[in-house]
Symmetry: C2
Subunit: 202 residues, 2 copies
């Protein structure tokens, strides 16, 4: 399905919000809108673009909507990911519980420092960079998370893609260039602070 | 200036990109669009909404554009921030170089575990939670970054706001409720992976 990026982004947020709900059977488009920061109209439009009906007076049926959104956007499928760069941020992400809960399984971590690898305390298998390609192929890892210093981020991305990864989430503060068939997303912490600062009164 | 959130978000990205450039005097709207993932038309429209002219055949003058965007959106002002929750993610952010480079100064870190505070290696002053209010007021800290476990995130946010913080960046995987005058933004790592997964072919 060829959807605009903004629609995909909003639906992912709606899906994540539905996932986080406990003991809620029905939810209105207005509540969903509030949770993800948009309008009820936009939520209803996004959902109907996907061909999902079923908005009743009580609202959407939470479980039905979650399943339908998940199946339309392939979000019900479990995905395997690896993390490259096991400094403090990388090791923090190794054990980030919410990945697991939301269907993303971190199956491997990589670093080029043997010293660092020996000191890391985690249940996840951590290995030297040189084994990256083999481990990614063996485990059919689809997603690569980059938490290395900027200066090696591009090189690491190239290696991940060469090993067969289809999507990259980049935490290093540099723009990585990837070919068109790779899905690329970056987390820019500074930009989030900037977005807040831009809205401050003085 | 009352701009739509999407416009603010894009301009923040443009500003960040301009900031990262070295030895570039002029830049086209197309290059900017490519860097932030939108169209040249949208970039030109966003910039002109701010009343900024000066698009020549060579493109925008990088320094002039950076200064103008910065002054229109108050991004040239230095902002002080603190981090609450000094686990691995929090300590990783304490020394995240790019904050400093981009005008955000992390001036304090807080945690409720004295043990943890004693073991942290950083140049930034770290203190127990009970000193939060005093230190935030004394240093005129405007931004609070939350990296605590979910179950205390709301309580921490309430304390930060009570101490005078105007903006909150929340890394904990839970939605925090803040009053309307507080600028709130959350970093959801899982959602970024989900956004990638939703675009994978199979």
């Amino acid at each position: 399905m060829n959807l605009p990026n903004n629609t995909i982004a909003r639906i992912c947020k709606v899906f994540g919000y539905l996932n986080s709900l406990e003991d809620t059977n029905f939810i209105s488009s207005k509540e969903l809108a509030l949770a993800i920061g948009t309008t009820g109209h936009t939520v209803r439009k996004d959902i109907s673009i996907l061909g999902i009906t079923g908005y009743t007076r009580k609202g959407y049926d939470v479980n039905a909507l979650k399943n339908e959104l998940g199946s339309k956007l392939n979000l019900n499928k479990k995905r395997k990911a690896c993390i490259v760069g096991l400094g403090r941020l990388g090791t923090a992400l190794l054990d980030y519980e919410k990945f697991q809960k939301d269907g993303f399984e971190i199956v491997a971590g990589f670093d080029n420092s043997i010293n660092k690898l020996e000191r890391i305390k985690t249940d996840i298998k951590v290995s030297a960079d040189i084994y990256m390609k083999d481990i990614i192929k063996e485990n059919s890892i689809e997603l690569g998370i980059i938490t290395t210093p900027s200066k090696v981020a591009q090189e690491v991305a190239d290696k991940l893609i060469d090993a067969g990864v289809k999507g990259i989430l980049n935490f290093s503060p540099i723009k990585i260039v990837v070919s068109e068939h790779i899905i690329y997303q970056e987390m820019d912490f500074t930009n989030s602070l900037r977005f807040i600062a831009a809205q401050l009164e003085d």
